[in-house]
């Protein structure tokens, strides 16, 4: 069985697929750079996870999920990034507990923005950091309880 982290990441990617600005350009843990034809896009990654053992047979997990939106534009790049964030926030709220994969839904913790003028057009990224809590049975990280 796939690790719960993967199940959650894939569920988030599914929930974010088809948004107005980023459409189907949703990647999970992509390593290679995206070119013009692949923008604007979203990159979903499951990052730091803190784990405590709440009972002998159950692990309490606190997972950080980062959704990064990328865009290039000659004008109004900040508007495009904020639009991406707006669409992501609404979709993540609608996703609820990801069909029970998380115990209390996805909580937005932080947003960071960065811009870069290295390329032929200004490029920008907006990163939305979410927190999700869930439990797994000890020794079976793919079983969400």
């Amino acid at each position: 069985m796939t690790h719960a982290r993967q199940q959650i990441r894939e569920a988030v990617a599914t929930a974010l697929t088809g948004l107005t600005t980023t459409s189907t350009r949703v990647h999970q843990s992509r390593m290679r750079p995206v070119g013009d034809t692949g923008l604007p896009c979203l990159l979903v990654s499951t990052d730091t996870e803190e784990i405590t053992q709440s009972m002998q047979t159950r692990l309490y997990r606190d997972l950080t999920i980062t959704v990064r939106g990328f865009a290039k534009a000659t004008a109004n790049l900040d508007d495009t990034l904020d639009t991406i964030a707006s669409e992501v926030e609404m979709a993540m709220q609608s996703a609820g507990t990801l069909s029970g994969k998380t115990s209390s839904g996805l909580v937005l913790r932080r947003i960071d923005v960065d811009m870069d003028d290295t390329l032929d057009k200004p490029a920008g990224v907006i990163a939305l950091q979410y927190q999700a809590q869930y439990f797994t049975a000890a020794g079976t990280p793919g079983t969400i309880v």
Binding site: P33, V34, G35, D36, F70, L119, D120, A123, V125
Partner: protein, 98 residues
């Protein structure tokens, strides 16, 4: 009185560009300006790929062109994003695609 070496700098820059130019540019109403066009691969945030266009040419050919002005390089249109005079007779124009 002009700076002592200004004329030599201009002549040197113009001669070098005549030998090294790989394109012609149009700035304002002046066309046929010889320059070195660099448009190599580059990335932003290590996640977005593209190119980083810039143009190297004699400062004397740039005139009063500044950021925001239109420029044409090999028939492709750009906007000057930044003007970087090196103080020795050469200027690099950082370009932005239109």
């Amino acid at each position: 009185m002009s700076a002592p070496f200004a004329a030599i700098e201009t002549a040197t820059a113009t001669s070098a560009m005549a030998a090294l130019a790989n394109c012609t540019a149009t700035i304002g109403v002046v066309s046929g300006i010889e320059a070195v066009f660099d448009n190599g691969y580059a990335t932003a945030f290590a996640d977005i790929s593209g190119s980083a266009p810039s143009l190297l040419l004699p400062t004397s050919d740039v005139g009063s062109a500044a950021a925001g002005d239109a420029i044409t390089v090999n028939s492709a249109s750009y906007t000057i994003a930044e003007r970087q005079d090196d103080g020795t007779g050469m200027t690099r124009l950082v370009l932005e695609a239109v």
